[in-house]
Symmetry: C2
Subunit: 444 residues, 2 copies
């Protein structure tokens, strides 16, 4: 059966995999333009479901920074027919899991329950999305909870180091570079009107993407969703199409420098260790180079056999934790190297971190490393298939970011097609792209 892998914004029914080599994957556009993507897997007795909105902190005005995250909190505080305790009890009493995440480009409310409890999960999550009470007094209480959450993040050197690093690479004064949760100042100033305006503007059928994986029936879930969203008062026009996907911007060229030439920005803390974040801008989420980037990251700092782990921890004993990472957005991306060590070792560790990228630029990677990286990524994907939550998340990010469904087999084929030359060329670009270094620790 020929299968169209593009997630078409106007095709109301798509079969993305026919289930012959893995689970059956289907996509429908429901009335109102709501998108539903499911993977049916009858080998489990549970289902994971996520309700996604393509709205995150980058969609906020600077003076309302933190409103997306505050709204996410407030959705748990009650609806027109449920109290906060009712919502909490609904998941707790069935032993289910539920939570929500606010990110820079999306917000997701998700749960994992036994399959028999899926209707209940749909009922509660759609109620929160369509009929949030957003009471003034709930905001006053929840504001204090959020300020505690911000205080906790400020006390966590990796949390605040990473946020500061993102701001340094992406631009502290840009919508994308600002911290997701806002600041003490903006959260203290948020009004219920700000949060309600955000809710009214973005929580609409055309924006909603639902992904679900596990022991479920696609058509039955579609019926449930339509029924519950309509009951919540959403206008579900049978002809409506989803909001068009946001255009990808182009990556602005940034003049970077060599790793050791980047001035360090210090977040001074009384700590035993200094936490180092070093890196710069990189490819966006839809870049053709993303598979080569995955291979590069696996070889450079992705596991116990990676270069960073072997050379800085195993051979020299300078660190306990060391790794590389990359993050990608619609029109921007970044790469980074992380290590934590006692303060006297900081400069030595920074030199070693940067030297690994330069060594990859100069000498490339071995066939043995390419083989190992492929095995690592492939095996990780295979083990990940046993976790319905991670598959639910994969469907969501493919719909929201890639605009294209890729099966695990296809992803493996693309990883396998990466050449050592591509990895080396990418390493050369990274080696010239260092723009930011954030240290969190004591002044030395």
């Amino acid at each position: 059966m020929p299968i169209d892998l593009t997630l078409d914004e106007s095709s109301r029914q798509q079969l993305l995999s026919d289930g012959t080599s893995g689970p059956l994957v289907r996509r429908s556009i429901l009335p109102g333009g709501v998108r539903l993507l499911t993977e049916t897997d009858r080998s489990v007795r549970s289902a994971s479901i996520g309700l996604w909105l393509p709205v995150g902190s980058r969609d906020e005005k600077p003076q309302h920074a933190g409103s997306t995250h505050a709204l996410e909190h407030l959705l748990f505080k009650g609806t027109l027919r449920r109290s906060a305790l009712d919502i909490a009890t609904a998941f707790d009493e069935i032993g289910g899991e539920s939570n929500a995440v606010t990110a820079k480009e999306h917000t997701v409310y998700h749960g994992r329950v036994r399959s028999a409890d899926l209707p209940l999960a749909v009922d509660v999550l759609t109620d929160m999305l369509t009929s949030s009470a957003l009471a003034e007094e709930s905001l006053e209480t929840e504001r204090e909870v959020i300020l505690e959450e911000l205080a906790m993040a400020l006390d966590d050197p990796t949390d605040c180091g990473y946020e500061e690093f993102l701001a340094a690479v992406l631009g502290a004064d840009t919508a994308l570079g600002r911290p997701v949760g806002g600041t003490v100042e903006t959260v203290s100033a948020l009004s219920a009107a700000d949060v309600r305006a955000h809710y009214a503007e973005h929580y609409r059928p055309q924006n909603l993407v639902v992904t679900a994986v596990g022991d479920l029936d696609h058509d039955e879930l579609a019926r449930m969703l339509e029924e519950r969203l309509a009951a919540g008062g959403w206008d579900l026009d049978p002809a409506a199409l989803p909001s068009p996907r946001r255009p990808e911007g182009s990556l602005a060229g940034v003049a970077g420098s060599a790793p050791t030439q980047v001035p360090a920005q210090l977040l001074e803390r009384t700590l035993e260790q200094t936490h180092i974040y070093l890196g710069g801008p990189s490819i966006s989420a839809t870049s053709e180079d993303r598979h080569a980037m995955n291979v590069l990251m696996a070889i450079l700092g992705g596991g116990m056999s990676s270069r960073l782990f072997q050379h800085i921890r195993e051979e020299r004993g300078l660190v306990y934790s060391v790794y590389s990472f990359s993050s990608a957005y619609r029109d921007a991306g970044l790469f980074g190297l992380y290590a934590a060590c006692r303060p006297s070792r900081t400069e030595q560790v920074v030199e070693l971190l940067g030297a690994e990228v330069e060594d990859m630029r100069d000498h490339g990677v071995t066939d043995e490393e390419m083989r190992r990286a492929l095995g690592q990524i492939t095996g990780g994907l295979a083990l990940g298939l046993e976790d319905t939550s991670s598959r639910m998340g994969r469907l969501g990010s493919q719909e929201l970011v890639q605009g294209r469904y890729a099966s695990v087999d296809e992803t493996v084929a693309r990883i396998a097609a990466v050449t050592p030359q591509q990895v080396q060329e990418l390493a050369a670009r990274l080696a010239a792209s260092f723009t930011a270094r954030v240290d969190v620790g004591p002044a030395v």
Copy 2:
């Protein structure tokens, strides 16, 4: 088929579940007295395996504190036929997961791999256990890594707060109360001879328990283990029996006091929040009251619908994170309440924490709360069945601690049999057992 659920120290073959209502669970005593427990589950394509030794930090002499943990690290540094890179590569190149945990009463080396890779995982893990190189120079490098790990823990307010709380409840000068990883002083002083002595004394066939869950065959795994352990030089006497389980001690009576009367011990840190640990001694791991304790913990502080979460976070907005916990050992146990809040709120939060235990003592729990707790624990167990790692861990702790296999169905039945009176009586005991409070945060 009648099934014997006791884990008999002399019965070489036991069928613990015949697979009619859930997976097939078998236990064998292999030559040398090695115990093997498996759950075969053909609905997955992977297997989780753990190699357990009933040896933890409580078995150390005070001057060698940290040697169990150091040994765990050194096992990854190479064997007679594998370098550290070989060990790291073995798991990375198949995309498997592997790690190890040192606790107060046991050490476990575990992995999760695709089923086809299980022989490789067995080969590597048994090689580490039987044939560790324990080279002098490896200890010197790894000592530095461990000191970084200790520094990281000192910088984490919840890590060091919890350790200090355990020491305060269990006795800072007792084997059980000491921190698992040792201190900077003891780790700096550890000699290769100390670590080798620990290895020679405890890493023996009679001590080894292997648990594995997933797509595997019990007899085939038994053959592999026997073959690889023998190849590693272990003497596998066909008649040997496992080391007898350690006797359970009895809980010493401790005179506790009311929650707000416990003097606070302050670990002074420059932080935005103060982290509070408040509690005292409680039941041991084999106590008949453990099911009532699970129910109590669910109602008191186990989820979003729990009393602590609803009253302290949802209604008052005083905290972001609040929960209750309990830990149990062979002959001791403890309970605790945790919250983090801005320092000015500390005394108010402590009062509220304690008041919830006293309220449960005075007024008991409702039938609605009992019903909800049962649903929460039952549903959580059902969802946990889909994770082979957590099932592997459950088999290990039943063998090492309980001496008895309990199916999920049996555990659910025991939870369901708990009465509100038992919960209230237990709450009364806890309310009179507060002995320790540790605050981590700024001086006020």
